[in-house]
Structures are given as structure tokens and as C-alpha cells.
Amino acid sequence: MTLWFHNARLIDPETGTERTGSLTVEAGQISAIDAPCPDGARRIDCAGKCLAPGIVDMGVQIGEPGAQHRESLRSAGLAAARGGVTTMILRPDTDPAIDTPEVLEYVTRRAEARTPVNIRCMAALTRGRAGREMAEIGFLLDAGAVAFTDGDRVVSDTKVLSRCMTYARGLGALIIGHPQDAGLSAGACASSGKFASLRGLPAVSPMAERMGFDRDMGLVEMTGVRYHADQITSARSLPALERAKRNGLDVTAGISIHHLTLNEFDVGDYRTFFKFTPPLRCEDDRRAMVQAVADGLIDVICSMHTPHDEESKRLPFEEAAAGAVGLETLLPAAMRLHHSDGLPLPLIWRALSFNPAQRLGLPSGRLTAGSPADLLLFDPDAPFVLDRFALLSKSKNTPFDGARMQGRVLATYVGGQAVYEREVSDA
């Protein structure tokens, strides 16, 4: 089917520009920009709203296999379509972990039948994410794994990690680390400081993140592997990241949208929906992270979608599960970076779409002829109050419940097919 979007505010993350124009989609690909409407095409009047490459969400947890009651491939797919996420990069922290080609194929095959958006899998770096024996990195690459990670479990044995990195280097595989000093952060559920002390919560200094990152950088320099830090959340880690990049290491870094838009005070009276790994930081850290995204030092913004049932959250803060759902709130939360922190839209889309696609070697994330027509039409200003029970995710653990937000997805297209359309006028 041929589509012609006109009167669109085109957000091009690759060139960092935005302008009004039209875009043509043919045979699942973007075929032209600012070309006249082809005969027989469906004409979509964007009414001046934003048309951007769909979000490539690097780090989505799904309960399949192991915890379908929390999130299934189907529910996550619907949530992603409504949230403007056209490619979900699944985390391997399932049960069992995605640590063999068989599990990976199982997930990929089930996803194809159930999920309207693209799915790619990350695979576990070590068997069972236990940090002891290397997973079958070669077979997993052949089966389609885009990166290797043990999720938020740190491989604390440096010998194991260095061998994994050396082996992965030979295959050109990307390793995703969770920078954290496991010993220092053991048992902690808050960032140390006045707030954690007042609340009496076991806390860890953000320095533990820097120490973990420094260790990983040593190993990256030693092995030459391609490395991505899943979440850099503290200002103290930034000089180390900047230095690593300047020294020519093949290193990128991401951050969750929650660490960019919330701070430790949001925990308030022990609100467990605000419990994250790593824990929320102070406002100075949050602002430093926003600046790091603006400077391009931090490459990727993701949702770190982590579904939890109500029981795992209705516990005392220390015992409650960490993480929040984010597929449907990633875009409106990212709009806070635009409206409150002043980041331009193309820059935000670079971190949401272009950079993750490039890092993982995917063709999407671009607004140029020949790229896949994974597109997102959204209104950056539309205000609403979020009701967590209106989310399509099976789990409703969002920190934004009741929050006033701006930014609504109007339509999502994957490979030129509409997978979500809310208010789109054909004309």
C-alpha cells in the first residue's frame, strides 16, 4: 500500500532538522520526501503534527517466557504500537533467560504471530545470567541476537567478563553492561544522601556506578569489544564516559526516561512505583543527564520497560520489586525534555530512534528514502492526565499515574502498515 503524508512537521534525527513537508511510503519503505502524491496513494493529512522515525526501544522486558501474567508479547506489542515504539529490543531477563538459540527462536517465532511491531532480542552474556559460563554467543548471533547482556546482574568475576568480551570481540558482537559495583550497591534501594537518610532506606553512593563503569572501561580497553552501558545515571560517571569516547573506545551509553524526568524526592512516602535499578538520583544528577543527552554524550534514551504485578509493588519499599512499565509513557515523558528542559525534537529523536538503530545495526531510525517505513505521527503538545488503568500493558506499574503530561501518539506505522491510528484524517 502506498501512503502519502502531507502537511507534516518532519523530524529528522539524522540531520538534526525539522521542517514542514510531505513523505511518500511505497512497498514498506520511505520512497521519497517532498514528492507529489502518487496515483492511488492513501493521502494522510498530518495537519502540521510531527512525523518522525518510530522509536527503537533498547531494553524492553517481557514476561514471555516465564511471567505472561505480567506482560505477554501480545500486550507489549499493543502497548508499543500505542506508544510509538516501532522496534522493541527485548531484554534477556526472562525465565528461563534468553541464553540459547532455542529460547531466542521461540521468542522470535511467537513474537511474529502476536506483535504488530518489530522485535529484536538481546541475549544473555552468560548462561542463566549467572555470571559464570559464557553463553553461545556465536549461535545466538546467527539466530538474530543484536546484543549480549546479563541485564541488571553485574558479571562481578572480571575474568569471566574479560573472556566473554574477548570472545565477543572476535565475532564483532555488542556487549551491554550494567555499570555498577556489585559489592558496594548490594542491598541498596536508594541513592545515598539526605533523602535516603531521612527515610531510613539502605542506600548506595552514585559512585558505585562510576566504579563499575571504570572497571568495564578497563576491560573494554583491554579487549577492544564494542560496549554499550545500559544506564548512566549519575553526573559522577560522565567524565569517565567522556574520556572513554575521546580515547577512541567503541563505547556508547544509554539512560532510562525515568532517570531523565524524575528524581529521588519523587519517592516521597515510600512510593514503590518510583523504585528503580539503579535508584533515582538527585536533581543535580538529573539535570546533568539531560545536558549529557543534549551534548550527545549519552546516546540512547529507552523506557527500561519492566512490568510488575501489583503484589510485587505492594510491599515495603526495600522489599518491593524495582522498575516500571514505560512503552506507552516513553513519548509523553520524553516531551518533558522538550517542554521543560528545552531539548529540540530532532535531538530527542536521535536518542530515541536513530542512535539505538545505528548501534544495533538496524536500518530504521531514519527519515530518508530507502529506509523502512517505521513511522510515528504525534502531537507534541496535546495535554492529558495519565490513568494507569488505561494502559494496554498488562502491568500498570507506572510512576506517572495521575501525572499531567503532554504528547500523544496519533498513529504508528511499521513497514508502511498502520498498527495504531487514533485521530488521523485522510485527505
Binding site: 535516603a196 531521612l198 531510613g200 532506606l201 515510600y270 510491599l315 519499599f317
Partner: protein
């Protein structure tokens, strides 16, 4: 209304006038407790449940006695051995108890914030009897009452809190309360037992005990858990006693009429020298226990009044709409 709280979850939400209201009422109960006829009627007809998820003898006994002296039906539940161990969640336990229509729920729990969580789910008055490393409000109130009676005031005093500040809910509640009442608070202890960011609370921090005690009106000692003494946070018991144990020599740096307090139970020879603990001219430790019952009576009385008033308002509203 001098006291407008629904629950007593911590000192943090209290206004200074509310603290004064509790202490003033507690004075009446001190007199009552010293009389022959130790009976009040403030909680008559009410049910008080003591839920202790952590073992406690002293605090539980104090709350039990306070409730009984005011005429409440008191039930003790030692949760450390019950269905919680069988996997029931805190909230389910709370809802089960709530269905039995208690009026006052006294809760101690090992996790910070657990009592706040529970208070959201029940429709009676909840009293925090200690949650994790967060707060222990009645302890701070009984300490305040003791200080006020001994020093004649509860403001512009120099108060040194010494020992394991980091793991102590007593220290947190006390430093918040004493700060609210405009006292000069000093925290004394090794850096490993000092919480991060504590300087921002408006207190002075000392790791030298003699400097910390200099000129203090009140010396408040904290208990050091034995499991924290073996090389984890401090090298050894004897080194701790040498540097931070309260003995006559260190106490000499405080004011001549300084009083010595301890929330109990004491480790004699670890954080406090036995001779000082027993010195009736300096130590007010026994008086603290006595004030504990009176303060808990006052807290439950005030919360019960608010509970009755709230229920009456609800009844009238229902009658008006029904």
C-alpha cells in the same frame, strides 16, 4: 485543634504545637500513673492491637500497659512467628486485622516505611512503634518529656546523640524532634555509623566524642547492635568502648548537670559504663521508661479523640445523605 493527626507515623509530620500538646497531656498521665487508682477511661470500648513484626519486650509492654490503663481491650500479636512467615503479605495481614475493627493499631516492622504502607490500607489509627531505620516517634516523645521535666524546658539545649546513628530510628526521630523544638543537636559517632548527608539536617557532626560532648546539657546514648561490632562497622567492641563508650572521663566534658539517657536495652561496657548508667544523679534511664507509658497513653488518647470525631462526622454525613 492542637493535635490534628490521624496516625502517628513519625515525628516528621508533627507541628511543634502538636508535640507540646502530646507532652502536656502526658504530664497528666504521669500523675495518674503515680496515683493509687491507675485508671483512665479515654480508650474505653476501644480495641488496641499491638502488631510486632520484630521482637520487642519493652516497647510492647509499655504500649500494652498504656492501653490497659486507659481502658482499651488490648491484644498482642507477635508477628515474628505467625502467618507472615508463611508468605502472607503485610497488606493482607493488615486487611485481615482491619476486618476485626480495631481502633488503634500499634506496629513495629523491620522495613522502613512499612508502617506508612499499612496505614494507607486500614481505617483505624496507626501508631508507629519503630519501622526499620526510619522513625520511632514515641521514643523521641518520651525522651523529650524526660528532658523537659529534668531541664525545665525543651528548647535552646545542647544535646549530643552518640553511637550508631546510621542504623537508629531512635536517633532519626530524636534529631527531627529536637530540631523542631529549636535545640542544638550534635551527632557523635564513627563515620561508618553516620548516615550520608546528615550535615544537611542542621546538626553538628563529631567523630571525637570529647569534642562532641563539650558543654552538652543532655547526653543521649544509642544501643550498638552486637552484630555490627565485629569488624563490620567498627573494628571491635573494646575499641568502640574506648573511643565512644560513655565513661566518667568523657562525661566530664559535658556540663556539670548534664543528664545521661539511653533508650535501652543497654550493653553495659560497650556503649555505656555500668557505673554511669546506675548513677541516679546523672542517669535518667529509669525515668525514661516511666515517661514511655505516659507518653504512649497521651498519643493514643489524642488519636482516639480524633478517630471518634472523624467517625462522628462520617455518621452525621451519612445521616444527612441517607
Amino acid at each position: 485543634m492542637a493535635f490534628s493527626q490521624t496516625h502517628l507515623l513519625g515525628i516528621e509530620p508533627l507541628h511543634p504545637t502538636e508535640i507540646t500538646a502530646i507532652l502536656d497531656l502526658a504530664e497528666n498521665y504521669v500523675a495518674l500513673n503515680r496515683s493509687a487508682e491507675k485508671h483512665g477511661r479515654a480508650l474505653e470500648g476501644m480495641t488496641q492491637i499491638n502488631m510486632f513484626f520484630e521482637n520487642s519486650t519493652r516497647t510492647q509492654a509499655s504500649f500494652e500497659l498504656a492501653g490497659k490503663r486507659l481502658g482499651a481491650d488490648v491484644m498482642n500479636m507477635s508477628m515474628a512467628h505467625s502467618s507472615v512467615k508463611k508468605g502472607e503479605t503485610l497488606i493482607d495481614t493488615a486487611l485481615t486485622l482491619n476486618a476485626m475493627h480495631p481502633d488503634l493499631l500499634v506496629v513495629r516492622h523491620g522495613s522502613s516505611g512499612a508502617v506508612n504502607l499499612l496505614a494507607e490500607k486500614v481505617n483505624c489509627a496507626v501508631l508507629n512503634a519503630g519501622d526499620g531505620k526510619h522513625e520511632h516517634p514515641t521514643q523521641a516523645l518520651l525522651d523529650a518529656l524526660t528532658i523537659r521535666r529534668k531541664k525545665g524546658r525543651l528548647h535552646r539545649l545542647s544535646i549530643a546523640i552518640c553511637g550508631d546513628i546510621a542504623h537508629s530510628r531512635v536517633a532519626r526521630s530524636n534529631l527531627i524532634l529536637l530540631g523542631k523544638m529549636e535545640n542544638r543537636v550534635r551527632l557523635v559517632g564513627p563515620p561508618t555509623l553516620m548516615p550520608k548527608g546528615v550535615e544537611e539536617f542542621g546538626v553538628e557532626v563529631f567523630d571525637d566524642m570529647r569534642a562532641g560532648l563539650a558543654g552538652a546539657d543532655v547526653v543521649m546514648m544509642l544501643r550498638l547492635q552486637r552484630e555490627r561490632m565485629d569488624g563490620g562497622f567498627v573494628p571491635s567492641e573494646r575499641e568502640y568502648f574506648h573511643r565512644y563508650g560513655l565513661d566518667a572521663e568523657k562525661l566530664a566534658h559535658a556540663k556539670e548537670d548534664a543528664i545521661v539517657m539511653h533508650p535501652g536495652p543497654m550493653n553495659r561496657g560497650v556503649e555505656i559504663d555500668g557505673a554511669i548508667a546506675d548513677d541516679i544523679n546523672r542517669s535518667v534511664i529509669q525515668e525514661q521508661v516511666e515517661m514511655g507509658v505516659a507518653v504512649r497513653m497521651a498519643c493514643m488518647d489524642l488519636l482516639a479523640r480524633n478517630l471518634r470525631a472523624r467517625r462522628e462526622r462520617e455518621r452525621l454525613r451519612e445521616a444527612a445523605h441517607g
